[in-house]
């Protein structure tokens, strides 16, 4: 099982963190207290040029090594302890740090980072690529420490516990943000650890996931060829990497990326009347069979500007959507909408394999 909730205010307004804590708490039984987390976007406007690193370290030693590693590869604007509050139900937590950083103390380091020239399109892309490489290096070289998130003007707050306790612990109830993802975990495949909680995040992309990816072996092998190390011992991380690879690196539109990850059946593709559309979907499915996600899943993915809600073809996991004004919400269960948007105009069930994409400032153009 697992419970997921997400929300986006397309008008640029914000939604309260406390609402999301309550919205996930009414799905209490979908989790078992072994993982909960939040991703919030637009929370560091004063540092929006810097990559915000959220780091978890199991002990002082790893925290020290992490600090050295970060400082030797990145310019650090601010380093601080993550603000937290003692919560009865969180008996232990790792050392949690927050850094606002920028790639490379000098340009020389950028050159040294061995970036393949083919993947770099402009300066921004180069900086992103550097950060990506930094994160994978960090996760693989610093024992007992991992990066929770590294995007600009966003952050992930997650850990082992029920999400309502995790939310209280990270003071999520005091935050407001236009875009949110929330997760309550019931781990089945892997042992619980702070790094295994959701959301998973790489640069600007974050994902929450309910389900199991049976194609994980294939997806991981494919991602490895393009420099993504899957080191967090859970299948969900591949989803965030796929979005990073296809949207950020290969410049595929989000719609096409969704098609790659969860394409229509061959028969459905053949029955598409518009030839151009048919050919383009056929080609996406022909080209990227190893990126297709198999197994039961409901996922919410966002980069802070757009939010994607997607189900597997067979719709083996629940996912509902709701609209109120310029706000759009998604959830595993409708009960969360009673907290988030009791006065909603519309509630609908997402169809298997038919993603919904909601964009900032573009109005709500969803199937519902």
């Amino acid at each position: 099982m697992c419970g997921i909730v997400g929300g986006i205010d397309t008008t640029g307004g914000t939604i309260k963190g406390s609402d999301f804590i309550e919205a996930i708490s009414v799905q209490h039984d979908r989790g078992n207290g072994l993982g909960g987390g939040f991703a919030a976007y637009g929370i560091y406007p004063e540092f929006d040029r810097y990559y915000a690193l959220h780091i978890a370290c199991n002990n002082e030693r790893s925290a020290k090594r992490a600090d050295e590693f970060i400082r030797s590869h990145l310019y650090v604007k601010i380093a601080e302890d993550m603000p937290t509050k003692d919560v009865k139900n969180i008996p232990w937590h790792p050392l949690l740090k927050r850094y606002f950083t920028f790639p490379g103390p000098s340009n020389e380091d950028l050159k040294l980072s061995n970036l393949g020239p083919t993947t770099v399109h402009d300066e921004e892309a180069m900086l992103d690529a550097y950060m990506k490489k930094f994160v994978f290096n960090f996760n693989s070289t610093i024992p007992e420490a991992f990066v929770m998130s590294c995007g600009k003007n966003m952050g992930v707050f997650k850990g082992v516990g029920y999400p309502e306790d995790i939310g209280e612990f990270f003071l999520v109830d005091r935050m407001e943000a236009p875009v949110w993802l929330v997760h309550s975990r019931f781990p089945t495949n892997t042992q619980s650890w702070w790094g295994g909680a959701h959301p998973f995040s790489l640069l600007e992309w974050s994902v929450v996931h309910n389900g199991e990816i049976t194609s994980y072996g294939v997806n991981r092998n494919y991602l490895r060829m393009f420099g993504y190390d899957c080191s967090l011992r859970t299948d969900t991380e591949v989803i965030s990497y796929m979005f990073d690879l296809f949207v950020r690196e290969r410049h595929l539109p989000v719609e096409d990326t969704c098609t790659v990850l969860s394409p229509p059946l061959w028969k459905e593709i053949e029955s598409i009347q518009d030839k151009e559309r048919r050919d383009s979907i056929l080609q996406l499915r022909q080209y990227y069979p190893q990126a297709l996600l198999n197994g039961p899943f409901a996922i919410l993915v966002t980069n802070g500007h757009e939010m994607v809600a997607m189900n597997d073809n067979l719709k083996l996991r629940p996912l509902v959507g709701a609209i109120r004004g310029g706000q759009c919400f998604f959830s595993s269960e409708e009960c969360s909408f009673e907290i988030l948007c009791p006065d909603r105009e519309k509630t609908w069930m997402l169809k298997g394999g038919k993603p919904e994409i909601v964009r900032m400032k573009e109005g709500l153009n969803v199937a519902g």
Binding site: T188, S215, G217, Y222, M225, W266, Y287, Q290, N294
Partner: protein
């Protein structure tokens, strides 16, 4: 005993001319045993056996007509079971008559050694057909699939679509040209079997079945017979070292071209179709004189390195206007991984790897039994190397050699193949009793023979229906297996070793296969 008696014994021996090598008799391996109570003396078995094992001897005269009774010659039965399966009265049983030497180490080889000193054919290299029957373990048998329980629901193939369609070829993201991919409805293709090694009727049945199923058949190295021009959408033509039948028509009437470097049953060995088998039709299709031996040299005479292979690949691409994918088929050998990587970089779109169990029309016995490596490890090593070199998506892999059933197909795919080739399974579907004597061209089932009377034993339509039935059954089984694993599209299994576990394997073997121990 008196001296006299001893002397008389030796003189007796002279009279009877006891001499093992002069009175040579092949050791009997198998023989038909007749149930004469059931037998109606119809004589069908004697006509059915093309190997001269059954003769009819006069028994009695009934209503003025002579009646004959079948008896075994105890000379040439190879246990093809044709007579047994044809006998209308079910009066025949083929029995194994193992020649049991007291010497355990020599048991198997003694018989083969005797065959090599047979005074009728002394000093010959032992030939054998079909894939290796070596008693080495099969890795397929030691791999088990994963199944869904609770945390993840299985998919019911009767209710939900499970998709087997596969595209094979080079997926190049950087190039501007749209790659040509080979579309197959099922990840099972029919392996190369040349016209000459099998007869035209079998090839037509093969091609017809491929068309109905939406997959491909492969001409093998014997060229493309005119009658098969129509099947171009489902035909892979093969260019081997003999270059038989390679002409413009051949390139026009195909969907893809395969360069055969090697064959699993006989890595590093060429081919030899004896002149007596080169009939008029075969000579025309192969473009060689009638009655002349069709010799395929061991190496291609223009390929002595990877650069040469690249030239041939591009020569074929130029010839076919870059519209047809080029396959390269190699035997599974020890350093298959770097070989495959080199072939991918040389421009091949699809690489077929043929394991040591792969079938053959004729191969030296010693080669078949002791050269090459199992396909399971070869495909896994190749897949892994291509991934490490970050070019796995640029080329498709086909596993061949020893795939006996639908589970083998899926295991090969989980180990890294995009699709598989089957050859022996095709022949078995048409009746083949696996007697391993195709080289003799006397196949009683009419499969690996060009004698018109024997080839007539194959009905093209029935044979192609049998093949279609077989592959449909395998597809259904594959869907069941995939459903159990909670996977609804075959692409999600290519190289998905997570869905396999090993039993009874050493940690080194697990490591090469890239598979975890069961329970882990």
């Amino acid at each position: 005993m008196s001296q006299d008696k001893l002397n008389s014994a030796s003189s007796n021996e002279k009279e009877l001319q006891l001499d093992m090598l002069k009175n040579w008799k092949r050791p009997v391996k198998y023989m038909p045993v007749f149930d004469y109570d059931r037998c109606t003396r119809c004589g069908l078995c004697a006509a059915a056996c093309t190997w001269g094992e059954i003769r009819l001897i006069p028994e009695k005269v009934e209503d003025g007509k002579p009646v004959s009774i079948p008896v075994a010659n105890r000379s040439s039965c190879g246990a093809c079971h044709y007579c047994e399966r044809q006998c209308p009265e079910e009066a025949i049983t083929i029995v194994d008559t193992p020649f049991v030497s007291s010497h355990r180490y020599w048991r198997g080889d003694q018989k083969n050694l005797w065959r090599q000193v047979d005074p009728n054919k002394p000093g010959h290299v032992l030939l054998i057909s079909t894939g290796s029957d070596s008693e080495l373990i099969s890795y397929f048998d030691r791999l088990m699939f994963d199944a869904c329980q609770v945390t993840n629901p299985p998919v019911d193939p009767l209710r939900e679509p499970i998709e087997l369609r596969t595209y094979l070829g080079r997926r190049d993201f950087n190039g501007n040209t749209k790659p040509t991919l080979l579309e197959t409805r099922i990840p099972i293709l029919f392996s190369a079997m040349s016209y000459g090694s099998i007869n035209l009727r079998v090839q037509i049945a093969d091609a017809k079945a491929a068309r109905t199923l939406g997959t491909f058949w492969n001409t093998g190295e014997g060229g493309l017979h005119k009658k098969l021009n129509d099947y171009s959408d489902n035909t892979i033509v093969q260019v081997a070292s003999g270059r038989f039948g390679v002409n413009p028509r051949f390139f026009r009437n195909c969907s893809a071209v395969e360069i055969k470097i090697g064959q699993g049953a006989k890595p590093g060995i060429g081919g030899h179709l004896p002149g007596e088998k080169v009939t008029e039709e075969i000579s025309r299709t192969r473009m060689i004189p009638q009655g002349s031996d069709a010799l395929s040299p061991a190496p291609h005479h223009d390929i002595y390195s990877i650069e040469d292979l690249r030239q041939l690949i591009y020569a074929i691409k130029e010839t076919t206007g870059y519209k047809k994918p080029v396959l390269v088929k190699v035997s599974a050998v020890h350093n298959i991984a770097p070989i495959v990587s080199g072939i991918a970089r040389a421009g091949a779109d699809i690489i077929a790897i043929d394991g040591f169990r792969g079938g053959t029309g004729a191969a030296p016995r010693r080669i078949r039994q002791s050269m090459g490596i199992p396909i399971e490890v070869a495909i896994s090593a190749a897949d892994r190397r291509l991934r490490e070199e970050k070019i796995r998506h640029e080329v498709s892999l086909i596993a061949a050699g020893g795939i006996r059933n639908s589970a083998d197909v899926l295991k090969a795919i989980c180990l890294g193949a995009d699709a598989v080739y089957i050859g022996t399974a095709v022949l078995v579907a048409l009746g083949c009793g696996l007697c391993q004597r195709c080289y003799a061209s006397k196949c009683s089932y009419g499969i690996t023979t060009n004698r018109a009377d024997l080839a007539g034993r194959i009905d093209i339509d029935i044979a192609s229906q049998a093949l279609v039935g077989l592959i449909r059954a395998w597809s259904d089984e594959i869907k069941e297996l995939m459903g159990g694993m909670g996977i609804n599209t075959i692409g999600s299994l290519v190289g998905n070793r997570e869905r396999l576990r090993g039993v009874h394997l050493t940690s080194e073997e697990l490591d090469v296969l890239g598979v975890k121990q069961a329970g882990k």
